[in-house]
Symmetry: C2
């Protein structure tokens, strides 16, 4: 580990690749003949393999959750505030596994990879994934790593949905589930925002029905708009007000349509453009569909308690007061169902101004509650 990194960092990490040759049957009825998952691990797996924790990522996330990729790397992984020695996911105690989901665009098999059947990129021919599919693919990674049972499966937002699904699909393989800033299913408004993002991408003339790579182009405009809409829903009204207010980029108004006038416009355009240069449009569509489809209660007539009765895990649910994408009320639905299902559940509603994005932030009460729960887990 380089001495240049902070003491509570996992330090230098190297992504690894796991290859799976056995076909994976998917919810859509199709299957993937073979695939690879890119992942990172932090900490050491103990002799009894009882200290493994799985991190599931959200919409635009990936495997690089903690540490640095080179000695010059200035930007640690996306959940570095929560993973490392002495941090909530304490790498002195736990062996933490973080992967890029199947269908992603950060090293795991996804739409931008070559379809062995055609020799061209999958593009829109890549199968639509569901949360259940991801959990099945993650179970194979667990097998490969020799992990029969996770000490905990942990995730925020869409990651929290995967953590919940684990307890339903593989009840024997999860001791603790931490679902943070999550929801038992999307609301009509949530789906509506996803649909705007999808339409932005689908109607971009450079999307070419999802086969833009064959044309050597990228649907940048669509991705940019999708990300802009997304970003508004990740931040609270208050957080945006605090950060930008009605502040102007320059001193006066331009009275035209195209100039950047307000700081919030500048921020959104930057976020949108940066994202459109690094994220795959088909992966974005796929992630929004996985979100829309997630509804574990549906198989039990909409009864979430009945669904969660299958679980054998203990649960920790956390939400943030100003999160309006997945508000505390949505987390309370999960908690209520768990109580009705007679499960052990711990619920923490954290006062935070940052909106949905709060789950990525180093908020004192959040880190403390998260750490306390993890400390109770025996390994």
């Amino acid at each position: 580990m380089s001495t240049a990194f902070p003491e509570d960092s996992v330090g230098l990490v190297t992504p690894q690749i796991a290859r799976f040759a056995e076909p994976l049957a998917l919810a859509c009825g199709r299957s993937l003949a073979d695939y690879q998952l890119t992942y990172e691990t932090y900490g050491e797996l103990n002799a009894s393999a009882s200290n493994a924790v799985l991190i599931c990522h959200a919409l635009s996330g990936h495997h690089h959750a903690a540490g640095y990729h080179s000695v010059d790397d200035r930007k640690p992984g996306w959940w570095d505030s929560c993973i490392g020695p002495g941090k909530p996911l304490d790498t002195n105690r736990f062996f933490v596994v973080s992967l890029n989901n199947l269908g992603g665009c950060n090293g795991s098999t996804g739409p931008s990879d070559t379809n062995p059947a055609t020799g061209k990129p999958f593009g829109a021919d890549f199968p639509v994934m569901t949360v259940e599919d991801w959990v099945n693919s993650q179970a194979r990674l667990a097998d490969l790593l020799g992990i029969t049972q996770w000490a905990a499966v942990v995730g925020g937002s869409l990651g929290g949905m995967q953590a919940m699904q684990w307890t339903i699909s593989y009840p024997e393989r999860v001791r603790h589930c931490l679902a943070i800033a999550s929801a038992p299913k999307l609301s009509a408004q949530n789906i509506a925002f996803n649909e705007v993002a999808r339409q932005a991408i689908l109607t971009d003339p450079e999307f070419h029905g999802g086969h833009f790579q064959d044309q050597g182009v990228i649907p940048k405009r669509g991705l940019m708009l999708a990300r802009m809409v997304g970003h508004i829903t990740y931040l609270s009204d208050d957080a945006m007000g605090e950060k930008f207010g009605r502040g102007l980029k320059n001193e006066k108004l331009n009275y035209d349509f195209h100039s950047v006038e307000f700081q919030v416009e500048s921020y959104l355009r930057y976020q949108g453009e940066e994202f459109s240069g690094r994220f795959d449009a088909n992966t974005y569509l796929l992630m929004t569909k996985a979100l829309d489809y997630f509804d574990p209660a549906a198989e039990h007539g909409g009864d979430l308690a009945k669904t969660l009765a299958l679980a054998k895990a203990d649960f920790c649910v956390m939400s943030f007061t100003t999160d309006w994408r997945f508000s505390p009320a949505r987390s309370r639905e999960i908690v209520d169902a768990l109580i009705a299902a007679r499960k052990n559940v711990c619920y923490l509603e954290i006062d935070a101004p940052q909106g949905h994005d709060a789950f990525l932030m180093p908020i004192a009460r959040y880190l403390q509650g998260f750490a306390s729960y993890m400390k109770r887990i025996e390994v």
Copy 2:
């Protein structure tokens, strides 16, 4: 009046056109050499011209607020529930004037009209309008109609901003101001949503820098996306849940990106497509800019009470509990400033599930409060 219309309808109405040959100086520094306003009137102006009420419209509104355009017309004006004999804006008492704003696309001079300087459509060369500009143009319409002072200026949303601006720009000409589901200025989040809508239009390849008419095309995709985003903000999360929930259009999921799967998707696409066929893209941009720019307190160092101290009108402010575009908190800012400025103000917060759109709906307590306030106005 045709007997086919409901008894409390204003019946058959015919839009009228007012032409103005004197240049109108605008906030942007430019001026309009001449222009026309399309308007409708309901009821009769009394001898002393003391019973005139001005209706100001919101983002996508127009002059046709009440009654029908033909005997076969099935769809009355957009505020028909509030305008007519015995309704809150009682046409037995009041002479109601409703216009299409300058820069609009429903009969008043706007971007889709011919620029006399070039002989081609204005397109993006049409000057950006502000709420102040609109109020100035409306004052000229009042002059033309022989109305020295409005009994009331009334509007919802962006219309409420115009009503407020009237009391500041022309204090002697307004006795009552009714600002419904409005705000003293946009928040960063409000601006952010407008910016997404603008970027959707501006980046549509068929926008052609705002001169799409010259190319014989319409930026349909951009307008559709803009309207979809807008619609989400007009409805409450609850109203969307109530209306669509997670209902599917067909019985099962398709597992693809482009199908309409959830009912809310179908609704949004329909709204977007319908809108993109009837609304001008440059007008949409212009309306969002007028919203962003509105900030009457700015001229008094951000002190809204100081600004509203200029007014001589009495005020009625109304808001709706589930409106998250312009929440009750935003209306209370107006009320607090009016109290600080020692104005007469009446505030009604109406329990309604419909979100921002509630101001267009026939909600009993809303209609009753609105009617009560109007009855107190002497003419």
